[in-house]
Amino acid sequence: MSAVTAPYSPVAQRIEWAQANLFNSKLNSLVSVVTIAVGLLIAFLVAKFVLFDANWALVSLNRRLFFVGGYPGEEVYRIWIAVFAAAVLASVSYGIWVGRMRPYVITVGIIAVIVLTFGLGTNLYIEETPFTQEITSGGQTSTISGIDRELVWEQGWAPRWLYAFSLGLALPFGGTWLIMAALLALLVLGALFGKHVLSRWKSSPVLLQSVGAAWVLLVPAAVLLQIGVSINSWGSAFLDILIFAVGGFFSFFIGLVLALGRISPYRAVRFVSVGYIEVVRAAPLLVWLLFATFLKDELGPLGEAFSSISLVYRVMIVFAFFGGAYIAEVIRGGLQAIPRGQYEASNALALSSLQKYVFIILPQAIKAVIPAIIGRFIALWKDTALLAAISLINTLEQAKKILAGQTDIADGAFFEIYIVVGLIYWSVSYILSRLGGAAEKRLGVGERR
């Protein structure tokens, strides 16, 4: 089949395109018809399940637990601040450097419709009524008391089947829909501001430096803001994202240093780098996580220091160093692809070693391996699923807890719960993958090599 992409607008053009690409031969027509039929069938089955068969009540009731776990309600504003800071940075940067507004606004719009419509439309809660009951058996009468739990729908103006579109996630983590509306509006306005106002100075180093500085300052600040809350209450998606973000961030720089170490002119440095990478990669992450969990103080002052810090921090360190070993190998591949002429031209210009790597070699090497780096990040993100094995409450563990605690109203809705778990993993992976695509495009402007 030809690689022609479907043109936008006129319907006639699309029909022409379909004729030329999907139905241009008997075999091709057959393949197209079967593919379309199977696709429609799958879409129908999914829609039927989501809208009519599934029971999203449990998801909806526990949406806050899903997103932030046991994070105390009166402290959730900290997370909102972090989310808003990230939204401003991300949307403005998107506006300046990517600027494709149509797909962006459509995406935000769909989220807005889901969140706002159904957030306003329906309310769902558990009604708990205490009861006492007298039981007579064998001439003896005893009284049992307990709490009767019943799921109550308070129907708003949105019909119940439509409510299913939001998978019950109408109002994420207990915020009001007003906060959500503000956030979504900010995402659009920030991008518009970036595209139409700031992008005029796109090539100016001042803009680049200020936005860069904002990222460098605000993101760690947003992370540090969370430390005010007892680390033991961190859980679920919030915990996973934080561990991944901090671990992944440092893993990149650890990988960079190790990759450079591997090509160092000093034999000892090379030896240490190679040894480190080989040892770390040789054991599965789960084993390293277990080491980190059960490490004994007896391992000298370093072990003592390590085991004295909170498990969450220890896990972040493990993620950074484990991820770093893989990133190092990826970057090494990129370094090998740089022609010798680039080193020679830099040397001939009298650039220092540091300048040579910072301005010439590393930008090219890293650019060449962005897809592989993104792949490693996605893998690292999904590795947060392992945290369930070391008694941290990650998204997966939280889902199990929800099911275990509410079997009486769960009504067999296991599948629905795990769909949402899957969606949480999927959305972060998807954002990472889009980010990689954008970075690649951005760094590849105008190049033909």
């Binding site: 180093p205 022609p339 002429g341 680039q342 020679e344 031209a345 040397n347 001939a348 210009l349 009298a350 650039l351 220092s352 300048q355 301005f359 010439i360 930008p363 090219q364 650019k367 760094l443 402007v445 105008g446 190049e447 033909r448 090599r449």
Partner: protein, 248 residues
């Protein structure tokens, strides 16, 4: 040690370069005066590139003495840095930085090595691009230019460091025939402006008309060195004659 003569830019004394067992340069002596254009020719593998590359230490030599513009090359990393900053080099394969615009390719050296302010560096770059005839290409990336244009950018990049010496290693060999002249023209103008140049080239027209001296190398040695007129009409060494017979 002897004093350097007044306007000597390059001085090599008994320079030896080996690759393993193979000796690529054997006791090479060379002196280039300010403003001189020296063209090096010789068969493939004779050590022409190696000679240039030892001058700015892209290859470390094994023995001998190298002095550039009065700076003696020592084990001190500073002398190496100073020498490289004094020499502009143009490669056969251009070796532009593909991820940077033409402008950034040219301003990088002056900004980072000479600590020139950005604006001044950009003015200089535009001046140099005008000089090599492509001021309109400043915002493009190397991959968007033709070979001849790329090589002219490479020349501008080297000139931006305000070098005392320009070295060219077969600057036109990777170019399509129709682009050779645009690069040669720039080199001829450069020579006319009094730039000291050390060129490896197969362009005999250029050698004959522009060079002050021609060096013939074979098997890592300087076999013959003379003025173009004499070199082409009256070569002394048998090896030179054989080589000239082959190429002319």
């Amino acid at each position: 040690m002897e004093q350097k003569t007044d306007n000597e830019i390059v001085r090599l004394e008994r320079v030896v370069k080996r690759f393993g067992d193979f000796t690529a340069l054997r006791d090479v002596d060379l002196s280039v005066q300010e403003g001189e254009v020296v063209v090096i020719i010789g068969p493939s593998g004779s050590g022409k590139s190696t000679l240039l590359r030892t001058v700015n230490q892209l290859e470390k030599h094994d023995q001998g003495r190298i002095v550039v513009d009065g700076i003696e090359l020592t084990d001190d990393a500073r002398s190496l840095h100073q020498i490289r900053a004094e020499i502009g080099m143009v490669f056969q394969q251009f070796n532009l930085f593909p991820h940077l615009t033409v402008m950034r390719n040219i301003t990088l050296g002056p900004q980072k090595v000479r600590h020139m302010p950005r604006q001044q560096a950009e003015e200089l770059a535009l001046q140099l691009l005008t000089r090599v005839g492509i001021p309109e290409q400043a915002d493009k990336y190397p991959g968007q230019l033709s070979g001849g244009q790329q090589q002219r950018v490479a020349i501008a990049r080297a000139l931006a460091m305000n070098p005392r010496l320009m070295m060219f290693d077969e600057p036109t060999s990777a170019l399509d025939p129709e682009m050779i002249n645009e690069v040669l023209k720039v080199m001829i103008e450069l020579a006319g402006d009094g730039m000291t140049m050390l060129c490896v080239t197969h362009e005999m027209g250029f050698a004959r008309n522009v060079a002050d001296r021609i060096i013939f190398m074979d098997e890592g040695e300087i076999v013959e060195m003379s003025k173009p007129e004499e070199f082409f009409t009256n070569p002394k060494e048998e090896r030179t004659k054989a080589f000239l017979d082959q190429i002319l």
